[in-house]
Subunit: 342 residues, 2 copies
């Protein structure tokens, strides 16, 4: 089988590709080829695998390939991020809405074009986000946002993701493809450097201390938020792909499970795994702008539909810290703090 | 002020135009011009008013005029209907999604283009539909669908309307326009002839007997459904236009009130207003296809947000029958049954 991963050179996309290559099979079938489509080149370890083909270009250009090439499945992870979409409305509409629709239309036209017998509808897994949940001032969040919580997005990113969920549901209902939209929670611990995202600190307060660097905490430790590790997110996307159509009943979107955790619990887990001297590298430095943004995010999720598919996040944040440490055993600078202070 | 009505030659659009001309004012301002944009020519009585200008063409062409002409407000009523959208997917996507987005973008670009000082955001009232409500087999309807019921559309028409609601909410949040989406219930009694719509009988079982003709009833009299008269729907759209932005809080869509009524209650009202001999012209003729479609429709609505704006449907179906009779006093054939049998 042939699989397309958009955003395949990114952090989640590359990890998904490595996971699929290791599994060798998806949905009961041998994986012959994985195409990683992205604006950036895919990591060298992936391109070294003979089953992997990297394609660099704009997403709208990648969509056109779907009209001419048969893919059995697509993981559509490419996306402009929340902050970009607020600053550049057209960028968000093009990257997140038009590009997704172009992918859906390409699959639809391919599906309708196999001379007499209908080609099987391609499976299509879309990375949506819990950003579809508002909060609407007239409709405050429940304590935990669930599959049945009314989405009232209050960012362009959230609106675009939710609109795509409805497009995917309708293309699926019509039989043009077999789509599923997985609402991802915040993925932590991300590798790399702090970025401008308001959620950056959810990784920074673990990653920087483990590297022996100070990290600033812009919010109160009582802030609660659902998180998941990179690997549980990838495993969840694979499980969403492999689930039967019937499991989705009349809807294609579902919440992905998260570990509902407070910042305090994250810091306590860091202390337990890496010791108090590493933990002490996190310094309170309240940032009203970031605190204000985060105050509008869900404090936790439930994920009844995904849980019924056997998908789970970690049971404790310590497991998430340990996953990051295991991922970085080969990168001494990433664990300098752990080695020297623990 | 200048007002654009898309679908302005249609049944609801023309009635809205007549209502606005009679009021002379909208939102506290004198109406200087009403442009009726439609694929068909507007009725002669409207075109005879010097304040009215009719424009015949495709909606996507009408959208372009918004870039060059200043409109203070838009009622966007033009739409491909549910049955058409199920048969012709591209037609629905173009007519209901692309055209709406073109209107929104035209208003956005006009708003951003007034050399230094921002032009006030145009008010934009969108005719959405209770077709946004599924039902999803995994999420059965509550007894009454309300503003907070989760929309899980199960038709392309419903999906497109709901997607437009989210576009309008986000363009509004960004300040590009001041949009409101009113989810209309079934309008009855519609004039004219039976059409292919599954909802056609909700008008036919009143209209045909009043004209002295037999009408077939394709569903059980216990079927319940929310309805509103043409005039209460038009008055509601005007009230939605005139409501303050603040009244919508963080959301732009609301359910419009309906009279939650059973077919039996409709028939009883007909008997009371027009007599048993007129009522007797309705003959049971169950149609499994129509009964099956209607079984998936909401059995009633609540409309908390619209009610708070002072919007109301009729209190009894007799009032709706009487409105149809009053509308048709000048059309003897429309009331032939009433005159001869009552």
């Amino acid at each position: 089988m042939r699989v397309l991963i958009t955003g395949g050179a990114g952090f989640v996309g590359a990890r998904l590709a490595r996971t699929l290559l290791r599994r060798e099979r998806l949905d009961g079938r041998r994986i012959e080829q994985i195409v990683l489509a992205d604006q950036a080149a895919a990591p060298a370890d992936l391109l070294a695998d003979r089953r992997v083909q990297g394609r660099v270009g704009k997403l709208l250009e990648h969509a056109s390939m779907l009209r001419d090439e048969a893919f059995d499945g697509v993981f559509h992870l490419a996306s402009a991020v929340s902050g970009e979409c607020e600053i550049d409305f057209d960028l968000g509409m093009t990257s997140n809405l038009d590009s997704t629709r172009a992918l859906l239309d390409a699959l639809r036209h391919r599906q309708g074009r196999s001379g007499g017998t209908a080609a099987p509808a391609a499976k299509f897994v879309f990375s949506s986000s819990i950003a579809v949940f508002g909060p609407d001032p007239a409709y405050p969040f429940p304590a935990l946002v669930g599959d049945d919580t009314l989405p009232t997005p209050q960012t362009s990113y959230g609106a675009q993701k939710h609109i795509c969920e409805h497009l995917i549901a309708d293309y699926t209902r019509k039989g043009y493809l077999d789509g599923r939209a997985a609402r991802l929670v915040t993925v932590t611990v991300r590798p790399g450097r702090p970025n401008g995202a308001a959620s950056s600190f959810f990784s920074g307060i673990i990653r920087e201390p483990l590297a022996g660097e100070e990290a600033l905490l812009p919010v109160d430790p009582s802030v609660a938020h659902p998180v998941a590790s990179p690997q549980s997110m990838v495993d969840g996307l694979v499980a969403v792909y492999e689930a039967s159509r019937e499991a989705f009943v009349g809807r294609s979107a579902l919440n992905m499970p998260g570990l509902n955790v407070t910042v305090q619990q994250m810091l306590d887990a860091l202390a337990k795994v890496a010791g108090p001297r590493v933990r002490a590298l996190v310094k309170p430095a309240r940032d009203e702008r970031i605190a204000g943004i985060v105050a509008n995010w869900p404090r936790g999720v439930t994920a009844r539909r995904a849980t019924a598919l056997g998908i789970a996040a970690e049971a404790s944040f310590e497991d998430i810290v340990r996953q990051y440490i295991a991922d970085n055993e080969g990168h001494p600078t990433a664990l300098k703090g752990l080695k020297e202070l623990a």
